[in-house]
């Protein structure tokens, strides 16, 4: 088990190195630097030169990268050029918000996805199945940015039930406030992902329903509820865990559009701003953190999976 985790961690290193090098290379291929964004739209050439030197951006690219890498290895990700604060501090401010949203969105998607999947899997081909499959398709077909704006118009502007701009309120500080703030972005993300989850779960439920052990369970005269609830669901939920994990990992950096629509202080939004202002250290830092979290969540899911699935043994 520990070996398993260790091995996964070892595999992480080349991925991170590869990614950071690629990103660094890419950043420098990108036209436009951070200085324009901080010097203002009327800056003179002298001003720009001064600022460039101030942030050490006049050094050769390789030197800058080596410098960054060396510091990064020691846990120092540098200063944000535009934010004028340590990159890790900026990310640290956003991380709890991002995680909270990711968890909330995952919960929403499960709350919608699992019942939808079970209801439609139990009667494949029925009208209920069709309606629910239609729901899943719609959830996937309506762009999130569109859905988000719609939700804001209805729930924030018209009904005034929920805030349209979602602040980060830690759930343990003010649970009600946190839920009010999370509701819309979590719903936007959750509905989209519930479409994916419902489909996946439905498919694995339907295939489990045909499995031989179900026939065995029926032949024992078990009540249908027990067959579905214990036998089938347990098997179907196993691969499902992986998908849920992937989804959650995706929310960490990938909820960019939703975060923008709801002005939510997540990492994705930070990174997008960083890209648009060419805040090199911040871009690097965000991406490394997103990668680590992505891989960590997937690893946790793998470990969990192996823990839950009796067939898997760590070697």
């Amino acid at each position: 088990m520990i070996g398993f985790v260790l091995r996964r961690l070892l595999q992480l290193l080349p991925v991170l190195l590869l990614a950071s090098t690629a990103i660094w290379a890419m950043i420098y291929a990108v036209p436009g630097g951070p200085i324009g964004a901080i010097a203002g739209d009327n800056a003179s050439p002298e001003q720009i030169a001064a600022a460039t030197a101030q942030f050490g951006l006049d050094r050769p690219v390789l030197v800058q990268y080596a410098d960054w890498l060396w510091n990064a290895i020691r846990g120092d990700f540098g200063m944000s050029i535009r934010g004028r604060a340590p990159v890790l501090q900026l990310i640290g401010e956003r991380l709890p918000a991002t995680l909270q949203l990711a968890v909330a969105a995952t919960i929403v998607s499960l709350l919608i996805g699992i019942p939808v999947a079970i209801a439609s899997a139990l009667h494949p081909g029925s009208w209920l199945d069709r309606i629910l499959s239609g729901w899943s398709a719609m959830a996937l077909g309506v762009p999130t940015f569109w859905l988000g704006i719609l939700l804001i118009l209805v729930f924030a502007v018209e009904l005034r039930w929920l805030p349209s701009a979602s602040a980060y309120v830690p759930i343990w500080v003010d649970p009600i406030g946190a839920i009010r703030n999370l509701a819309l972005p979590a719903l936007t993300l959750g509905i989209y992902v519930s479409g994916i989850l419902a489909r996946f779960l439905r498919a694995s439920l339907v295939s489990e329903l045909r499995a031989d052990y179900v026939r065995t369970a029926r032949s024992k005269g078990l009540p249908e509820r027990q067959i579905v609830g214990v036998h089938i669901l347990r098997n179907a939920l196993l691969p499902f865990i992986t998908i849920v994990g992937l989804m959650m990992a995706n929310f960490i950096g990938g909820a960019v559009v939703t975060e923008a629509v709801f002005t939510y202080p997540g990492i994705g939004r930070l990174l997008i701003q960083a890209i648009s202002t060419r805040d090199y250290p911040l871009i690097q830092g965000c991406i490394v953190v997103i990668l680590v979290l992505y891989i960590a969540i997937n690893m946790a899911v793998d470990v969990l999976y192996a823990y839950i699935d009796p067939r898997i043994e760590y070697r």
Partner: protein, 495 residues
């Protein structure tokens, strides 16, 4: 007089304090008042005060300076400071701080946006703790002197080196906390010298990525005020019962032409653009009609403003065609360029498309080169473009101040480079700068400049528009903008 003069609306019924929630559409970059630009317009007037202020009508009134004495020959000005002002650090404001501020402004490395303004200054002295005398290289017109004082925003001498990251001002508010990219909170300065101000104890700025989100936030009562939203939402929200506050210091949208590149080396061809602008349409579509149509880079408040030019250079395809024909360029030569577009700015995108369409009508088919964020800024700053729409500021001030904007710069122009290809323009600016009277001579110098501007046609203004537009919930009172449309929070309160 020594009394401060409240900005517009200030004498309304007593307002209550509280937390003012302000929506913004972009994050600030630093706290240096000498680097003010649209991105920190919301902060400068709240963290800092300047020596003097202008009323909306352009009249200079005291602020940190109680009085300013201009020498009869217009070669110096002596400023008297208030003696009851302290910085946020608790230190008292003295003439040494002003001197340090001036020193920074005069330093090409540190002077940032004020550096150009300082070009008229020879040196300064501080006879005592409350007095500063600024000496000029030559006689300077009155308005240019008050402009300089208005631009002089004292920074605490002790904090001047770190002012980019740590504000060091005397303003009504001090920094409470900042979440980069997300927002910023200011809290009231308890020792503020203006009595009874600030009214709101806290100002909470939230940065929105989307104009629509900001509007929704206002409509759902998540914020009290939007600063710097689009004209279109402002007009819509005003119709829905919200307050809209327009300031006296608009920007002017200018179509910038890199006249060092073909085909723009051809003056006739450039002049054709004076007629190619459907300014009415641009203003309506791009800015919901908020603003004025202009053919010169002046706001109506500017002494050089001249409405006749707007009429003369109305949208006129036929005149444009004539000029194009007269230019002698081949259709291929005329179409061999791109229009750089700042993709983040919706009005620029709209204006560019309208112009593109007008160009197509005269047989010139060009592409738009749409860039985002830093990529655009860098190209713009380096003058690395054929043409582009970009706003210029200071259009309500002394005419030569227009030369602080990159395309209008007389020396070290990043677009047109040195030597300046339009010598008559450089001369016209010099003439304005050196003509301090009599009135006819001044007017003549302005007329000359205006004519040169349309003839050289390296910058074609289209319209003025409101920067820093305020849309606020009806609950708020005391809303105002300063002469440059900077946000002033200290007078705002709840009814």
């Amino acid at each position: 007089g020594t009394n401060w003069i409240a900005p517009a609306h200030a004498e309304e019924a007593a307002l209550k304090g509280g937390t003012l929630r302000v929506a913004l559409l972009s994050d600030m970059t630093n706290y240096d008042p000498q680097q003010f630009s649209t991105v920190n317009f919301h902060l400068v007037k709240n963290l800092y005060d300047s020596l003097i202020e202008y009323t909306a009508e352009g009249e200079a009134v005291p602020s940190l300076a109680t009085a300013w004495q201009i020498a009869p020959d217009n070669t110096s000005v002596t400023v008297t400071l208030r003696d009851d002002v302290t910085f946020h650090s608790g230190a008292k404001l003295t003439s040494a701080d002003v001197a340090a501020t001036l020193a920074k402004a005069a330093d090409p490395k540190r002077g940032k946006n004020v550096y150009a303004t300082m070009s008229i200054v020879k040196d300064w002295t501080t006879p005592d703790a409350n007095t500063v005398t600024i000496n000029f290289k030559a006689p300077v017109p009155l308005r240019q002197i008050t402009d300089l004082l208005q631009f002089t925003i004292p920074i605490e001498a002790a904090g001047i080196d770190t002012v980019e990251t740590v504000p060091a001002g005397t303003g009504a508010y001090m920094l409470d906390s900042r979440a980069v990219g997300q927002g910023l909170t200011l809290k009231a300065n308890p020792n503020y010298w203006r009595k009874g101000q600030p009214i709101a104890e806290k100002v909470d700025f939230t940065i929105f990525s989307e104009d629509a989100s900001a509007s929704a936030a206002l409509e759902s009562d998540a914020v009290d005020l939007i600063y710097g939203g689009t004209s279109r939402s402002a007009v819509r929200l005003k119709d829905a019962g919200y307050q809209m506050v327009r300031g006296p210091g608009p920007l002017v949208m200018v179509f910038r032409i890199n006249s060092t590149r073909a085909p723009f080396t051809n003056a006739k061809f450039r002049q054709a653009f004076n007629y190619l602008m459907d300014r009415e349409g641009m203003l309506r579509v791009g800015y919901a009609g908020l603003g004025e149509v202009v053919a010169l880079p002046w706001a109506p408040a500017s002494p050089a403003f001249n409405a006749a030019y707007t009429e003369e250079f109305a949208y006129n395809i036929d005149k444009a065609k004539e000029l194009i024909a007269a230019s002698g360029l081949t259709p291929a030569e005329m179409s061999n360029w791109k229009m750089l577009v700042w993709g983040n700015d919706e009005p620029s995108v709209v204006l560019s498309q309208i112009l593109q369409s007008a160009l197509a009508e005269v047989g010139i088919n060009i592409e738009l080169d749409v860039r985002q964020g830093a990529e655009y800024t860098e190209a713009q700053l380096a003058g690395d473009y054929d043409t582009t729409f970009g706003a210029v500021g200071n259009v309500q001030k002394f005419p030569s101040r227009v030369a602080t904007n990159s395309i209008y710069r007389g020396v070290k122009n990043p677009v047109l480079k040195d030597p300046h290809p339009h010598a008559d323009y450089v001369a016209a600016i010099a003439q304005v700068n050196t003509t301090s009277g009599p009135d006819e001579a001044v007017k003549a110098s302005y007329d000359n400049l205006n004519r040169v501007l349309v003839n050289d046609a390296f910058a074609i203004p289209t319209n003025s528009y409101d920067t820093g537009l305020i849309v606020a919930s009806p609950k708020l009172g005391g809303l105002s903008l300063d002469i440059d449309n900077l946000f002033v929070a200290r007078t705002v309160g709840f009814q």
